[in-house]
Symmetry: C2
Subunit: 419 residues, 2 copies
């Protein structure tokens, strides 16, 4: 397709989505749940077809890098997990229609808000074909239509999954156009998707920082974006030592590659020696490389000096930068300067400092005496997660079904007029 045809094609998807969004917004909870369960059934029944399509993607993507191929690959277990994910979303409470704060006003009218779908959501993602099912399930449950733009390397897998989604929607009497997979792999399609604000209400990019930055730059539609996860743990001098070691070890070592993993440890100078003597051997046993400030290097023989860049780096690897600080103010200054407003935690027994840290650290998740690894939609009880927002607007931190909705005002009267 040339550029003009891509524009026409994308606009047509947009129009279809807008029409389908209307039906989705009207669909009751039972109908949406029936669709989700029907899709789950279809996916299990079509396991062979999905794995066959995936094998063809894998073969065509022979030259891809191994990490990408790993994310691309489906197997029977992953297909079953997709069906399970759909069933879980069906069990979540329906956010649509929830009426809050309905109160009488002195004028006699009753005013409140009602939760309603956003409309049309555009999802842009790379390789992982199970995003097709995950994102579609959440968008459907929240009463939205969705346009999915996966990676070109996964197009066969995505289409095989989309076929099951369409059948499931149809079985429940909902329009198949509620979930559309972009068929052209031309990058111009993304440029069109993120600018056609008459048809799309929210863009959710899922992928590397490069993808997200590019999309944010081009978009004329709100983008739910997740950039860096440079998370900190600050161990205060009033921390319980055992607790501090446990939390700081877990925050780094429970998993290295996740955005809520601690990348920088800040330790109060009064307890630095004690903390390091207990904690550093644990890190060393796990093969975690320590890059420290000057004081850290004095206390930790195996530490290499950290550069300015280290404090800005999301390693996503067994590397940890460590800084000794003079107290909570210096710790919060460091977090403000180098952090990414994702997740930061204080370990302290002092309630005044805990309250200050909670109030003053401007991150999407702020924690007291807990591992940063808890910053996650499932751990927070959202049931599912469409993404984690590092923006301040609309939704911040883990975003679940509610982030795919908005609120409108409702007013009830008995013929009330304004005087």
């Amino acid at each position: 397709m040339d550029t003009l045809n891509i524009k026409h094609y994308m606009q047509e998807l947009g129009r279809n989505a807008r029409g389908a969004a209307l039906a989705m917004a009207r669909a009751d909870t039972g109908t949406k749940n029936r669709a989700l369960l029907a899709i789950a059934e279809r996916i299990l029944a079509a396991q062979d077809a999905i794995l066959g399509a995936n094998a063809a993607d894998m073969e065509a993507g022979d030259g891809l890098d191994p990490a990408l191929k790993d994310r691309l690959e489906l197997n029977a277990r992953r297909v079953q997990a997709m069906a399970e994910g759909l069933r879980q979303v069906a069990q979540l409470p329906d956010p649509v229609g929830e009426i809050s704060d309905l109160r009488f006003r002195p004028s006699g009218i009753q005013v409140g808000t009602m939760r309603v779908p956003l409309g049309v959501v555009g999802i842009i993602y790379e390789s992982r074909p199970n995003v097709t099912q995950e994102a579609a399930a959440l968008c459907l449950k929240a009463g939205n239509a969705v346009i999915l733009r996966g990676g070109s390397e996964a197009i066969r897998s995505n289409n095989a999954i989309a076929r099951c989604i369409h059948e499931g929607l149809d079985a429940a009497g909902l329009p198949p156009a509620a979930v559309q997979v972009v068929q052209t792999t031309d990058r111009a399609a993304v440029g069109e998707l993120v600018t056609m604000n008459e048809y799309v209400d929210l863009i959710v990019p899922r992928g590397g920082k490069g993808l997200i930055e590019r999309i944010s730059r081009e978009a004329r539609i709100p983008v739910l974006k997740h950039l860096d996860g440079i998370c900190h743990v600050y161990i205060d001098d009033r921390a319980d030592l055992e607790m501090a070691v446990k939390v700081a070890f877990n925050a780094k070592c429970q998993r290295y590659g996740t955005c809520n993993t601690m990348e920088t440890l800040l330790v109060h100078e009064r307890v630095a020696k004690l903390v390091f003597s207990a904690l550093i051997p644990l890190y060393e046993r796990e093969g975690v490389e320590i890059r420290g400030c000057e004081k850290t290097c004095e206390l930790v023989a195996t530490a290499r000096p950290a550069t300015e860049e280290d404090w800005h780096t999301e390693y996503l690897a067994p590397i940890l930068s460590v800084r000794v600080v003079g107290g909570i103010d210096e710790a919060m200054d460091h977090i403000r300067r180098y952090g990414s407003a994702h997740t930061d935690s204080i370990v302290t027994g002092d309630i005044v400092r805990a309250r200050r840290f909670l109030a003053e650290v401007d991150s999407s998740s702020v924690m007291v005496n807990a591992s940063t690894r808890f910053a996650d939609g499932f751990e927070y009880g959202l049931g599912a997660e469409i993404g984690i927002s590092t923006d301040k607007f609309h939704a911040r931190g883990p975003v679940g079904l509610e982030g795919l909705t908005t609120r409108k005002w409702i007013v009830l009267g008995d013929g009330h007029i304004r005087v």
Copy 2:
């Protein structure tokens, strides 16, 4: 100033604001209220200076159009209203720090959200110098810093008001840089303000549609925008006739120039004759011109035929477009097609239809048996209003203090780790 200097100048304002925002976010409720009350005192004490500056603006703006001059002009009453507005904002509950939904999770952590300031707000407005005080008061109360860019015709008035604000902030121990007035009247300053996303978190344009469209196009920062107000009242055939006439008359005639004024009346065909016979004479008495669909023109001798453009028009004047429809579905189709998602109301005695209208009309305010004129921050109990959003994101409809804040997640544990 040349373009490069404007860039440097605006960046400096941005840095100052970012620093002041930190202090504002930390300021407790009492301190913020003391600042607001001190500003009110200063404004009353400086009444002569403010009116003098305003007289100079009026003189310099001799060639301006009368409507603009009317908005520009201050008098003793308007200055006193400014002080009163500040006192009212001081009395509003502080939204910052509110903790909601703090619940234990199966893992043992306690998870909830805390309301926090947005950071730095940029306000772009025309002529009305009292916006300087209004916008500053709301931003301060919500713990934000603000950069104000008023019209060049009001710069002396704005600076005189800003001086009072700075003195009041200083008296309460808060940084005067929390409220900065852009001193250059070059339009390039606006371009810089709406793109420096490292320093500004939200843009609120207050002014005509042209201004708002231009800013939305240029902005690289979320914009709280208010475009058209094409509001509808649908009179159902199950409406109480007297109630319908009362609501439809009020929605049009209580004030013509406001965004929540009804611009199009939709009437069920079964009651059109009856409704028109009671309602049209009332409109005619007020000099409201009727532009009707074919059926309306058959029933109303004085009606002119409405063109396609009429259904798209926000008259802000004593003109009303009227359409006879076959029922609620046709009414909602019309609203979807021609409305601006601002405010729409149904008059009906039928609860099933009322519930459908509430659920299915996708406007920022949806009403049952009430005049559209109620769509207003004060009427809704927000206490004050920074603007009305016709967007779906973050804040929808009238936006008060809460719209100048966001929520972050908080997690409380006792050394909890993820397993």
